[in-house]
């Protein structure tokens, strides 16, 4: 069966919903589809905690937000995109306010802001510490106003359909029935989020398996800057549950096993006393950028100054001095999560934390309109790389990014759809039949498979963490590249116990693993080829930044063998590369 729309969103998180609403508001006659493997309000935007950045207060400036973002990204950001992003951010955030987002407020009724890491001024809007949750539900509920948005809830997209040189929709499985169908669109927008599940310790939910990135990669679209993986310095051990940076923005401090504020040893400034009215100092100590804080953890570990625990070593995030009242008002979720999942009450005890994989700076290569190299295919949000995050994303830019670029990609895709020729329906149906055969052949007909999904996933997780984690080297990365190749070969022999059609989550797990292996391959090879250290990509064998050779985006193309890595210049407009300075 084939259903037709003008624009098809793959993914119903923040970016997908923002795009859908943008189209519905500007073109009420267009038919819009939102295809999501979960009900939209389950999307992982829901888990974002601390806030979303936009300049709103008089003491701040657009220039400051631009500079913080570019320096935070170690000059890998495209500056035209950053400038557009920062200029549009306040308007998008006010739009969210008008749609009802319950932003925390100052006493005069204006929106309140808090500081985050790497920021010269406080500019993070927040809804207590459940900002992503409130933004997602506000967007989802607002989307219900528009009856030209058709939702495909719990439909799992498996393949981008390319016909006549342009993207014309996707093949997707309706999970309830197991039917494989064509959802055709004159334009398609990938909004599938990140791929943190490639790693063992991650803040990402089970659904973050890089589906959209892998589908685009398979369709010949390059994945850009995939080596840049953000470790968030404060995840709970074991589960990887995020303890928001807002905990440090409100004054929380990081301590090693001796109760020493170790960040002062890593060129991040000198600590002020917690009772000093100037604490916490912006762009200093605990409010340094995420990459530097995660790297400091590894160094502390090597100095044997971390605390051993049942899920590896940890350090302590101490917010006790904030007091119960402030913690309950500003960080209630931090308290709830710490009590439930770390077994401690942060009002009385420090929180054990370690760096955990949080965010992918890289993704589907797009221009400033969200357009990819494949006509008709757009991307926005974490699955895309536009790129405003460079080599290290600044905390609280990602929620704003999905609004700004979700909206922009939506409008661009609508313009494309209005001018696009008719869909090649017959050919699309044939392609879907092929895809159906592929899935049946690979996952249902194979009787002699021996490989279990779980084992392959675990081995992938292990190699990524040990060899493509916070610090990498040629030796470690070559091992990972070989290991991923081996896992891809073994994937062919995967066995499914479940041969049924109705809500077969073993099948979707297998398809997700296949997506993750492709994305892992792009990460490992991009990291191997980048023989410099920049932002979140730290090579122990090439410890210096090398602007002469690597002020360039890596572009990974899938081939029949290993990926081909090309490069594209970073767009530098007004802010020439400089040193990243924190704590001064």
């Amino acid at each position: 069966m084939i259903t037709n729309h003008d624009i098809v969103m793959i993914g119903g998180g923040g970016a997908g919903l923002r795009a859908a609403i943008a189209i519905a508001e500007t073109n009420p006659n267009l038919s819009i589809a939102v295809v999501s493997k979960v009900y939209p309000m389950r999307s992982h935007t829901v888990a974002a905690e601390g806030g979303a950045a936009a300049v709103i207060k008089d003491n701040d400036s657009l220039e400051n937000h631009i500079h913080d973002t570019i320096a935070g990204g170690d000059w890998m950001c495209d500056q035209d995109a950053v400038e557009y992003f920062v200029n549009e951010a306040p308007r998008e955030m006010i739009q969210m306010e008008h749609w009802g987002c319950p932003w925390s407020r100052d006493l005069d009724g204006t929106v309140a802001v808090r500081p985050f890491g790497g920021m010269k001024n406080e500019r993070t809007w927040f809804a207590a510490d459940k900002t992503g949750f409130h933004m997602l539900h506000t967007l989802f509920q607002t989307s219900l106003k528009h009856n030209n948005i058709t939702r495909y809830d719990e439909w799992f997209a498996t393949k981008i359909l390319v016909e006549n040189g342009r993207c014309q929709g996707v093949t997707a499985i309706e999970l309830r029935s197991g039917k494989i169908e064509t959802i055709a669109g004159k334009a398609t927008i990938m909004c599938t989020g990140g791929a943190g599940r490639i790693f063992p310790f991650t803040t990402n939910g089970a659904i973050k398996t890089g589906d959209g990135m892998a589908m685009a990669y398979r369709a010949g679209v390059p994945l850009k800057d995939m080596e840049f993986i953000q470790y968030h310095p404060t995840g709970l051990p074991g589960t990887g549950i995020l303890i928001t940076e807002a905990a440090r923005g409100e004054g929380g401090i990081m301590l090693n096993k001796d109760g020493y504020r170790y960040l002062q040893d890593y060129d991040l400034g000198k600590p002020l006393d917690i009772d000093d009215p100037s604490h916490p100092v912006k762009k200093s100590m605990e409010l340094g950028p995420r990459d530097r804080l995660s790297q400091a953890f590894v160094a502390e570990r090597e100095k044997e100054r971390t605390v051993p625990g049942s899920y590896g070593h940890v350090v302590h995030l101490d917010i006790r001095h904030l007091g119960e009242k402030k913690i309950d008002k500003k960080l209630p979720f931090v308290r709830e999560l710490s009590k439930n999942y770390a077994g401690i009450d942060p009002v009385y005890e420090p929180i054990p934390v370690r760096p955990v994989v949080h965010y992918m700076m890289g993704g589907i290569d797009t221009d400033i309109n969200g357009a990819t190299s494949l006509p008709g295919l757009y991307a926005a949000g974490e699955c895309a790389c536009v790129s405003i995050n460079g080599a290290n994303r600044l905390g609280s830019n990602s929620l704003t990014e999905l609004l700004v670029f979700g909206g922009r990609a939506g409008k661009a895709a609508a313009r494309f759809a209005l001018d696009a020729p008719q869909l090649d329906k017959d050919s699309l149906e044939l392609q879907t039949a092929d895809e159906q055969n592929r899935i049946i052949r690979n996952f249902f007909r194979r009787e002699r498979g021996t490989e279990r999904i779980f084992s392959l996933r675990k081995e992938m997780n292990e190699t990524m963490e040990t060899s493509a984690g916070i610090y990498r080297s040629e030796k470690s990365l070559k091992e990972t590249c070989d290991k991923i190749k081996e896992l891809k070969d073994r994937f062919v022999n995967i066995v499914l116990e479940d041969k049924s059609l109705n809500f077969n989550t073993e099948l979707t797990s297998a398809l997700e693993l296949e997506f993750m292996l492709d994305v892992a391959e792009a990460i490992a090879y991009s990291a191997l080829e980048r023989t410099e250290s920049r932002g979140s990509h730290q090579r122990s064998d090439f410890p210096e930044r090398d602007d002469k050779n690597f002020l360039k985006h890596s572009m990974a193309y899938q081939t029949n063998t290993k990926p081909r890595i090309d490069y594209k210049d970073v767009v530098i407009t007004k802010w020439p590369p400089g040193e990243r300075v924190y704590g001064k």
């Binding site: 306010e97 407020r105 949750f133 709830e336 109705n502």
Partner: protein, 250 residues
């Protein structure tokens, strides 16, 4: 040998079975495991055919609601140690049709959610242009509706609701709470549009304020209070409409 715990899990695959059955699985008992960890262990290492929903593992995505020993709970927030050494019985949420295994169909809720108009409705001509900035809202005004905005749509309150169990046309706790969330938002003018739906159905008058919904809510939304408030509002509206029609100016 390491300690273990048994889980008795509701299994139903409509393609293969005409009746649901229970299968018992034995999994390692770890002090810090939640029921979801045990279910994931079963899926990964014992029986790949078990289907269930989950994602965030931190109690905010709302996917993983199930009945645990007869009580609606998020499986990511129910700890094995609270049941050990007894067997744990896991079933899909009651009150909903079963899709398969632990997965219930929530289409009915999604329809009701849309009907309650959960979005800001401004009087015509009173929309503030974006260029003029945000609507002002004091912390006190925010606090009035904030608790009702915390609903994660996990459906535990429906599974606990004695009225919904008997009459599935009842719009139900979470949807009413969400309607109230917007009704009480200082930026909203849509109360009368929503009130019609909330008050039109008998269900709301059958709710006896037993408060089962609020007792199971993992986010302290207190839908029972929202329902009570909606009843009072409806009574006041009726009073204004019928007895003092000139009082409708507002």
């Amino acid at each position: 040998m390491a300690e273990t715990i048994k889980l008795e899990i509701f299994r139903y695959r409509p393609e293969k079975e005409s009746e649901p059955t229970f299968l018992t699985y034995e999994v390692p008992f770890l002090e810090d495991w939640v029921v979801l960890d045990a279910i994931n262990h079963i899926k990964d290492e014992i029986d790949g055919t078990l289907s269930y929903r989950w994602s965030c593992q931190m109690g905010v995505c709302g996917s993983c609601g199930v009945m645990i020993n007869g009580v609606p709970k998020l499986s990511c927030a129910a700890f094995l140690k609270d049941y050990y050494p007894d067997k744990i019985r896991v079933e899909p949420l009651t009150g909903f049709p079963v899709e398969r295994d632990l997965i219930s169909q929530i289409d009915d809720f999604m329809t009701k959610l849309t009907k309650i108009q959960p979005y800001i409705i401004r009087k015509r001509g009173e929309e503030k242009p974006l260029d003029e900035g945000e609507y002002l809202q004091t912390p006190a005004e925010l606090a009035r509706f904030k608790p009702y905005s915390m609903c994660i749509n996990c459906m535990l309150c429906y599974a606990a609701c004695p009225v919904y169990a008997l009459d599935s046309t009842f719009i139900g706790p979470a949807a009413i709470a969400l309607g109230q969330r917007y009704n009480m938002d200082s930026r909203d003018h849509g109360r009368s549009a929503r009130q019609e739906l909330i008050a039109s159905h008998e269900g709301i008058w059958e709710c006896t304020f037993v408060g089962e919904c609020s007792a199971v809510c993992p986010k302290d939304v207190d839908p029972a209070a929202a329902i009570q408030r909606a009843k009072v509002s409806s009574t006041v509206d009726w009073f204004k409409d019928v007895l003092i029609p000139w009082g409708k100016k507002k």
